[in-house]
């Protein structure tokens, strides 16, 4: 089945398919003229970007990482504790969440101080308790300290700063993971393709004891 046939098979009109194919082929003229290098723009798709947006992307990609090696290493370890590999999918590091965090702290500088400070807070806690930094502590120790900052409702007052840091990091790790190919596959999101929407599938209606609606395309 060629592409046109496959579009037809899912019920697209010839006009839709034609326009869509044309649109896919054309792409962004400027972007086509000067093929963006991965080095300059990473994985960014430049379609429809304003000049200032492209400049900004280029500039951010060029800029060295905000984090030093130790901070990066700590973020990777924390990322995999937040989202580890399991039966369904890989871990945060498999999805290269660190690269996303690296970029987003340059893009949204408001993340910088809370993350750097939070990492330092965590290291100091571990140093006082276990005599090592967070990454230098053993896994039981790492888990022990996360237990104290990962459940907002039962965090002790003296651990609140750690909990606020962890909440921010947890959200960034979740974004980085679930917006990656691995994460989207894990969730089972199967949209973002041309198709036909014909309402809730019959087996799902039956599961919830719902009757199909009488109207629709």
């Amino acid at each position: 089945m060629n592409r046109r046939q496959s579009l037809k098979a899912i019920g697209l009109s010839t006009v839709s398919a034609g326009v869509l194919l044309e649109a896919c082929k054309t792409g962004n003229d400027k972007a086509v003229a000067a093929v963006p290098s991965k080095e300059e723009y990473g994985d960014a798709d430049l379609t429809g970007l304003e000049d200032f947006e492209k400049e900004r992307l280029k500039e951010l990609h060029k800029r060295p990482s905000f984090f030093n090696d130790h901070e990066r290493q700590t973020l990777i370890v924390l990322g995999d504790l937040i989202i580890p590999k399991d039966d369904v999918s890989g871990s945060a590091s498999d999805a290269k969440v660190i690269d996303f965090i690296d970029f987003i702290v340059k893009d949204i500088p408001d993340h910088q101080v809370p993350l750097r400070g939070g990492l330092k807070w965590l290291d100091l806690q571990c140093l006082n308790r276990y005599g090592h930094s967070f990454v230098g502590s053993n896994e039981n120790q790492q888990l022990e300290i996360l237990e104290e900052i990962a459940y907002p409702a039962k965090v002790k007052p003296e651990m609140q700063q750690g909990a606020v840091f962890f909440d921010r990091l947890r959200n960034l790790v979740a974004t980085g993971f679930y917006t990656s190919q691995i994460g989207i596959k894990d969730l089972g999101y199967v949209g973002n393709v041309p198709g036909k929407w014909d309402g809730v599938p019959a087996d799902v209606l039956a599961q919830y004891n719902l009757s199909p609606v009488s109207y629709g395309v």
């Binding site: 006009v15 054309t26 959200n171 979740a174 949209g191």
Partner: protein
């Protein structure tokens, strides 16, 4: 310093249109198709959804994963501009809170809008006679109806005939079927006594009869990115680009209009603008000038167009320009449906406009505020983007885990990872959009002290909500809660109370601002006549949201389109009669 000069174009156009959104696009389309030579000035770059849309891209194709750093509604959204634009400030008077969203691009805000396409009803046009709460338009629904019909046929809108008194039916394409969460909402709303109907949106769920330039919807749910197949309404794809193909309409992009140039006879002669690329000053001449730069953008141009014959600004002998500014009220609530946890996966992207809608049908005699609001609904298995999953650690302590036991909210590791899966697609959201009363005391004006980077004096906003809007917002929250409760949802958004006006959004937030050059029969209390023609200057028209006397609880785009088409036909008629 080099020479400072204004470049004057030798060519004189029949009509100059400022702005390319719904109002400018429709006027340009009608006039160009009738053989009129039109020049359209747009403050932003050219934009063609077929080439420039970010439709069908994946989140990882944005290094910020769709975050809103450079675009207010996220990296994939089709709006250039936003709430704040570098070098183009606006100011607020006293303790006013007002936000002004501008999209500088061909098609303006219609590239990313929600496509919810509602007609205003008979009572919305005649509020004074209905309940006395608002002023009357000089026109009735019946006078506008033929234009709504023509807009429906020209552009396409889905919906169902419901026969409601103040939500008139249109000429509809079939609506999309509801998603699973929307079916639960329909059931819950029924139990709660809230009427819910299929949505009404300008998306081609079927090919548009007689139109071979536009494709039909392929159900990606991404209308906000603008559509490469032209299957939804954007002024760029459906009006301006087709109008250019007639050979009668020329677009100059990146042209920031400074003022309307007026002759000694007091008539509009053309406009002056700054070209944003070369920063040079230009002046173009036209027989007729149509402003469609957005309600506030057009008011700004009028107020800045001072001349010996129009010392108070153009079309402003009444002093009314800028006044009666009003945006829809807005409120919201979010939650999740425990029965949708661990739901089966399938593609439910659907259309990117409202698939269901709760129209306002209540009797105000039993309520403590005038008129009301409609409700839009959200939720489901959407494509993840920046911020995804942020809610899960806050709600996973609200329901039992897989083992049937309650646990502490938050967490990490395999258990949290499982929760991200369990809660995916179980969320549900509601947003009320209601009528705010147009008041003389809510207005924009020229800030006497501030200019933008082009030297153009900027707008200063004055806006206060009153009891009418606040009580409506309270009622919204009660209605949302009753639907949530009836369908067994758990509310996750913060409870709203008196201290925060029951969640009433800041004016401007809903991006339905209109009313700044209202129409009327009396030149002392209105800027425009019922044809959107300036009382003070017969070859000047305004066809965006500015002519609105009073909006209903209806998103304004469909009315802007109908009125703009009506004005364009009036211009053709008046040109033929040699009146202008």
């Amino acid at each position: 310093m080099g020479d400072f000069q204004i470049k004057k174009s030798a060519e004189k156009y029949d009509v100059i249109i400022v702005g390319s959104g719904a109002g400018g696009g429709m006027a340009g389309y009608v006039l160009a198709n009738a053989g009129v030579k039109v020049l359209m000035l747009e403050a932003g770059p050219f934009f063609d959804p077929a080439k420039d849309s970010k439709q069908l891209l994946w989140p990882w194709q944005s290094p910020r994963r769709g975050a809103s750093t450079t675009r207010a509604f996220g990296d994939f959204d089709a709006a250039y501009g936003g709430w704040q634009i570098d070098g183009e400030p606006y100011t607020l008077k006293d303790d006013t809170e007002f936000t002004w969203f501008r999209a500088h691009m061909l098609g303006g805000r219609t590239n990313h809008w929600g496509r919810i396409s509602l007609r205003m009803g008979p009572h919305d046009f005649k509020g004074k006679s209905f309940d006395g709460a608002t002023d009357d338009w000089p026109i009735t629904y019946d006078e506008v109806k033929p234009y709504y019909d023509k807009v429906d046929r020209l552009i396409g809108v889905y919906g169902t005939a419901e026969g409601l008194e103040n939500d008139p039916d249109g000429i509809f394409l079939p609506p999309p079927k509801p998603r699973l969460n929307e079916m639960f909402i329909m059931e819950g709303a029924k139990k709660a006594g809230v009427k819910v109907i299929p949505g009404r949106g300008s998306v081609l769920t079927k090919p548009l009869p007689g139109n071979t330039n536009r494709g039909s919807c392929f159900f990606c749910g991404q209308c906000g990115r603008s559509c490469k197949a032209y299957a939804d309404f954007s002024s760029s794809s459906c009006l301006v680009i087709p109008a250019m193909k007639t050979g009668n309409l020329k677009v100059i992009p990146n042209a920031m209009v400074r003022e309307v140039v007026v002759g000694k006879d007091g008539l509009a002669k053309g406009v002056s603008y700054v070209n944003k690329e070369d920063l040079m000053e230009y002046q173009v001449e036209g027989g007729i000038v149509i402003l469609a730069a957005s309600a506030c953008g057009s008011a700004r141009i009028l107020l800045n167009s001072k001349s010996p014959t129009h010392p108070n600004g153009l079309a402003n002998s009444s002093g009314i320009v800028g006044k009666y500014l009003h945006d829809s009220t807005g409120g919201g609530m979010s939650g999740f449906l425990p029965q949708l946890m661990d739901r089966k996966r399938y593609n439910e992207d659907g259309v990117g406009s409202a698939q269901i809608l709760a129209p306002w049908v209540l009797d105000n005699r039993k309520l403590d505020f005038p008129r009301g609001y409609h409700i839009e609904f959200g939720g489901g298995m959407r494509m993840p983007s920046y911020g995804f999953g942020g809610g899960v650690p806050r709600i996973n302590g609200m329901v039992p885990g897989r083992d049937g036991k309650m646990k502490d909210g938050g967490g990490f590791g395999k258990s949290l990872k499982d929760d991200y899966r369990r809660f995916y697609g179980a969320n549900v959201g509601m947003a009320g959009r209601g009528m705010a009363i147009a008041r003389e005391t809510n207005y924009c004006e020229i800030d006497p002290k501030v200019v933008d980077k082009y030297g153009i004096p900027v707008l200063r906003f004055n806006y206060k909500w009153t009891d009418a809007e606040i009580k409506q917002a309270k009622h919204m929250q009660e209605t949302f809660e009753s639907i949530m409760h009836a369908m067994g949802a758990i509310v996750t958004s913060r409870a709203k109370g008196k201290e925060d006006n029951y969640g009433l959004h800041t004016p401007g937030d809903i991006i339905h601002e209109v009313g700044t050059a209202r129409m009327g029969d009396d030149p002392k209390t209105s800027a425009l006549n019922k044809w959107c023609q300036a009382h003070d200057c017969k070859n000047l028209f305004v066809t965006d949201g500015a002519p609105f006397v009073q909006q209903g609880d209806k998103n304004p785009t469909w009315t802007i389109l109908a009125l703009s088409m009506r004005t364009a036909e009036y211009i053709l008629d008046q040109k033929q009669k040699k009146n202008i």
